[in-house]
Symmetry: C4
Subunit: 196 residues, 4 copies
């Protein structure tokens, strides 16, 4: 089985996750600049989550370029990832609605951490299937970005209860780390390395 449908389904889901977040912008009653003010924290949360889902889509796109045949385990690992990503619109809205209060900030990070874990699990599922010569394993190397992100999420969740602003900064930092294009895959793909 090819990767087409898995990719199409994931694309559809991620596209909807993003747009559902826009639905949380309640249209203000008035037409003054003041009436827009309550939207500011919501828009900030949206921007952050848009970037996160965008990065996941981007990386998903790269990841499945190293995969030729989809196994049943990969389908499940992918659904598991999509489950955690599907909670992002809710945590985004709750965080924006409560002006970055401690608990919503921590829950936002927890869902990001679970998404990252699901991503890691999916990578491992693919690597196990590809065997010792796995193109993906080679491309990932020590996966420093992945490990660093997990640590930063954990720190951010703890910080949420002390200084929520630091958590916010850490979430933004992780997003920046990933926005820097991931040369590992591009290099791999230029070497033509597509394998099972």
């Amino acid at each position: 089985m090819g990767t087409n449908r898995l990719e199409a389904f994931s694309d559809g889901m991620m596209a909807i996750f993003i747009t559902i977040m826009v639905l949380e912008f309640n249209v203000p009653e008035g037409s003054s600049a003041q009436s827009l003010l309550p939207l500011v924290p919501k828009v900030l949360s949206y921007v952050l989550s848009f970037i996160y889902v965008g990065i996941y889509w981007n990386n998903h796109h790269h990841l499945f370029h190293t995969v030729k045949h989809v196994s049943g385990a990969m389908l499940l690992a992918n659904l598991h990832l999509l489950f955690w990503l599907s909670l992002i619109p809710f945590t985004t809205a709750w965080m924006g609605e409560n002006h970055f209060a401690p608990l919503p900030m921590a829950l936002y990070g927890a869902v990001l951490l679970m998404s990252a874990s699901a991503w890691y699990l999916m990578q491992q599922t693919i690597i196990r299937k590809q065997g010792p010569q796995s193109a993906l394993k080679k491309a990932l190397g020590k996966d420093l970005k992945g490990k660093l992100s997990a640590v930063l999420y954990l720190v951010a969740i703890a910080c949420a209860f002390l200084v929520p602003a630091v958590s916010g900064a850490l979430y933004a930092l992780v997003a920046c780390i990933w926005l820097i294009p991931d040369r590992r895959f591009e290099r791999l793909l230029q070497e033509g390395g597509q394998q099972d």
Copy 2:
């Protein structure tokens, strides 16, 4: 006619069914842990329905790998299946909102039963088209999983009015039965058996 568009349309629909359910998580006003409590039954219902729709997507993916040409009857059978699946977000929300009360529990099962019937109908439509040497028929064998699920749904619907908790356990049980990867199709596909 190939299966591309039928698959793409079904993928889109199922992706939306899942994400519509997330919209039912009303963002709580407060930011305390207490304010999240009313969401617990909703999240539980969501997890169950996410797994169900995920399984349908998964099986749909496998099923149409045995199909090469789509007939008009298959298009209708597929739309019929999507109709019943489209009601899952509503029954999920009603069940979660009412803390697994009898009638919502029963209706949840009734929609699952109708979806399963629509699935059975679609299988038969494909088998009829493929003729006596149907690859799908061979793959399904006696379709024990399908028959068992139908019986369990019926029992669960009846139980809903007596002990709703048993219904819930039965719905979870059916989901587990299907989560165990279906070797029949994987075996078939490895034998290269794609036919009309």
Copy 3:
């Protein structure tokens, strides 16, 4: 340019039109059978509209099988069709909410009539592009179904102000006419007639 993206975009839109309608089923507060009663007219409207959008998707699927290259005019004609179809969820909800009152019934028909006109326009755009030997023109023949539907819509719109029930019956009748599989295209495609 191929038809892939036009088809994918239209599939996505039509999938969303259907699922938006489900969002109109407000989850009832109680869990009794009575609390479901107000949903009955909404569900009936939904079933009718599901069938209509399903038929449009089905016919869209068939129609673009006769098309090889998409022109700019076809893209616009398709967007025009999607515009009218996009209003169906609104008219469906209004009709269901008001228990099939005269004006909502008439507006429902008006949007169906405009959709049918947009469909006709799109057919003509394709035929003009394909030239005198148009495979589509041959397949359509006198397009009796199309003409009959337009007349029935007009009658139903007029009836809505006198006997709304008759309008409802006529909308159901048109749906039935189209549900009967359209042999013209299947025949054409069996003759291998893809052109342009």
Copy 4:
């Protein structure tokens, strides 16, 4: 990497942007013609935004026909474009809800201007990748339409605070400019000019 997934993801997003706008049509309580009146400005806004998103989809379709290999920079440029387009449903709803009041009119134009800038950036990203013999650069020529649109958006934003009706007319004018089919791409594609 091919353009398939980028196109599919963008199609999905744009399809959802359009349909989200329909969700803003609150179903009126009554069934009289009067009850539809408050919807008139909303429908007008919707028509305008439908045309804009439709044009973007259309042009996106044409643009990526000149692209063979997607680079990481193009993926980001595309996500950036989608971000601004994702705000259109909100500005459309705010404008319709407030009967084309000054600030909503200006914000509507600002989001269109940012979308146009993101589009320009994406074009430049593609041209840079394609190198001096860029097929896209040749097709665009002096990109008069693009430059004129940006100027008209700026004028419209300024006008919003003085005579909002003029802004509305200017937004409609820009839409008309783009609705006229863009011969440049069609000519290019007839010359078989796909490169990168």
